[in-house]
């Protein structure tokens, strides 16, 4: 079983946010990488083994939607956590097509650690061993037997 915590990439054009979030999360990850726009973010992603990404949606050069679309072309699975401000309805409704793991509203930093921890776990574990829920029918039925016993 992997004991890796995973590597985190934080992408935001607001440097203060990148600094704050990095400081808050540095103990959760093996390594924290940063970038200040989507283009730089993609370069850092390609050069390193990234397990989870925290990303703003509105960024210069390449916004969050364009970035996740580009990354999904090379890595279908890495969890994306969007840390967003107001006024980005169209982008937020567009981004879902590419699969976002979670969302947080700026400037709220509460629960960020909890969400990132889950994201890193999923990123490290991967999803290749995910099974169809129909593969678990016998397991569900065993659980149901416990309920049925009461009716006997």
């Amino acid at each position: 079983m992997s004991t890796r915590k995973g590597n985190l990439l934080i992408i935001d054009d607001e440097k203060l946010i990148v600094e704050r979030v990095s400081m808050l999360l540095e103990d959760l990850a093996d390594e924290v990488f940063t970038a200040y726009d989507g283009v730089e973010g993609f370069e850092v992603f390609q050069e390193n083994n990234i397990d989870c990404i925290i990303c703003d949606i509105k960024m210069p050069r390449l916004n969050g939607v364009e970035l996740i679309k580009k990354i999904r072309e090379v890595n279908k699975e890495v969890p994306f956590i969007f840390y967003t401000g107001h006024g980005s309805k169209e982008l937020m409704m567009e981004v879902v097509k590419y699969g976002a793991f979670d969302f947080l509203d700026k400037p709220n930093l509460d629960h960020l650690e909890e969400v990132v921890e889950r994201g890193l776990k999923l990123g490290v574990k991967g999803t290749s061993d995910l099974k169809d829920s129909s593969d678990f029918i016998s397991e569900y039925q065993d659980m149901m037997k416990e309920l049925d016993e009461d009716d006997c």
Partner: protein
């Protein structure tokens, strides 16, 4: 419904509690010293970050935020509070009016941004006190006691659309009736049985409860009052060791349904988000404190799956699922429950016949229209203040299915927002109960062997739903032994 006969204490006499964030320590000491003489509690945040934490962890009647706040600027703190604490009264202070003018901001702009008032330094402490106390948001606590009049039991003519109702057996009151109460005689004719502000008379109330009178009516405009009152009362009911589970569940259900009626009909406002979160905490507490939910599982027929009953059920089931997930947490459960409450809000934009129809019975044309409601719902919420992004995404994605057969985007597997997957299953399950007219356990027995349906949902989430029932049944079994 058992008349609780609670003697509710007059909560308006409880101490007010205010939060202050201002780097001027001398001013803050003066405020603290002056206000605490009057029994007002003043808590002080030393910087913006602490202020955010304190608003998250505590309830305040108002928050005085100075523009010079550092380490999370005043603007950051303000943004945080408007998103996470939309019901909090916020007063900004600044060194002068020119401060905002220099940013091109007028008082009206500040009000739009969620600020209740602005003070310019130097200000008088009395002025601060008046602003703190100000015009309170309408709550039941402001209802003044009036003497009973002989103007009771009169028959009045009221448009049915002006009134809302609750089951008469589920009605509870404190010492003072907080709104005019009616029973229905026939169309548009009602008997007024209580006036707002008069003392509640149990004997008189009981005399109206008979086979033909099933509901108590009150004006829709008083619904917010009802919600505010029941939110406070339900907290006490759930915490009480002496009150039976049936009463607790009914109180929570009625509160949730009335709240949802207000949200779906009146729209979401600054206050309603906070009220909703307070209700969610009660549902969570109800489930967590009462592991034996055999009452609920056996008495399911009483839970009308029509209208807002469905939304309550979805919230209830999704909370059970969330509490049984390995990765579930209080904050996750709160988002899931709130998303559950609002998940069908997009139906408000559909033609009524489609909004009320069973999706399985729709024509292709009707179903195509119906498939718009998640997007429509998300758009409503993007135009509403204080709704967190996770909740919007739940509403947008609650009909996406793991095998890709859902809508509106046909997402599949891991692309679907995990929290939305929970609401998706809870929604399906609540609809199954309605369709099959069966109890929750029977619905599980129908659902689990159905391979066609099982593949639409996440395995972990299905297991959490089943687990939720197992725990409840185990506790019921212990009780019987």
């Amino acid at each position: 419904m058992i008349q609780l006969n609670l003697k509710l204490k007059r909560w308006e006499s409880m101490n007010k509690k205010y939060l202050i964030s201002d780097p001027d320590t001398r001013l803050v000491s003066d405020i603290k010293r002056q206000f605490e003489k009057d029994g007002i509690v003043i808590e002080v945040a030393h910087d913006g970050k602490q202020a955010q934490l304190m608003t998250y962890n505590n309830q305040y009647d108002a928050f005085l935020l100075d523009m010079e706040t550092k380490n999370h600027t005043a603007l950051e703190v303000l943004k945080y509070c408007t998103v996470n604490k939309p019901g909090l009264k916020i007063i900004l202070s600044a060194k002068s009016k020119d401060y905002f003018v220099s940013f091109g901001l007028k008082d009206s702009d500040l009000k739009k941004a969620g600020i209740d008032d602005v003070l310019y330094k130097p200000y008088q402490l009395n002025d601060l006190k008046k602003i703190f106390e100000g015009k309170e948001k309408s709550t039941w606590k402001n209802i003044k006691e009036k003497s009973s009049t002989s103007n009771n039991n009169i028959i009045v003519e009221i448009n049915d659309e002006e009134l809302t109702k609750i089951p008469i057996n589920d009605f509870v009151s404190g010492k003072i009736v907080i709104f005019d109460c009616f029973v229905k005689m026939n169309n548009k004719k009602y008997t007024k049985i209580f006036n707002q502000g008069e003392n509640f008379n149990q004997e008189k109330f009981s005399s109206f409860k008979n086979e033909t009178i099933k509901h108590l009516y009150f004006f829709k405009k008083d619904r917010a009052q009802f919600i505010s009152f029941m939110n406070d009362l339900t907290e006490k009911i759930i915490d009480s060791e002496k009150i039976d589970i049936g009463t607790k569940v009914k109180a929570t259900k009625n509160l949730t349904e009335k709240y949802l009626e207000e949200v779906y009909i009146q729209n979401i406002s600054k206050n309603t988000v906070d009220e909703g979160i307070a209700i969610i905490s009660k549902i969570e507490k109800l489930i967590a404190k009462n592991k034996d939910l055999s009452y609920f599982m056996d008495q399911y027929e009483e839970f009308n799956p029509e209208d807002f009953g469905h939304l309550f059920l979805v919230t209830f089931f999704s909370t059970i699922i969330a509490q049984n997930l390995e990765w579930g947490s209080p904050s996750t459960t709160e988002k899931i429950a709130f998303g559950s409450m609002l998940h069908d809000i997009g139906k408000l934009k559909l033609p009524l016949e489609i909004a009320e129809m069973d999706a399985l019975k729709m024509s292709d044309k009707q179903f195509n229209l119906y498939k718009q409601h998640p997007r429509l719902g998300a758009e409503i919420l993007y135009n509403s203040r204080g709704v967190p992004e996770p909740v919007r995404q739940i509403v947008f994605q609650h009909h996406e299915l793991v095998n890709g057969s859902g809508f509106p985007n046909g997402l599949s597997g891991i692309k679907i927002y995990p929290l939305a997957k929970i609401v998706s299953l809870a929604d399906y399950f609540a609809n199954l109960l309605k369709r099959e007219k069966c109890k929750p356990l029977e619905a599980l027995r129908i659902f689990i062997p159905d391979k066609y349906e099982i593949v639409k949902f996440d395995a972990e989430i299905i297991k959490s739903l089943i687990s939720g029932f197992i725990i409840k049944k185990d506790k019921a079994r212990e009780k019987k032994v």
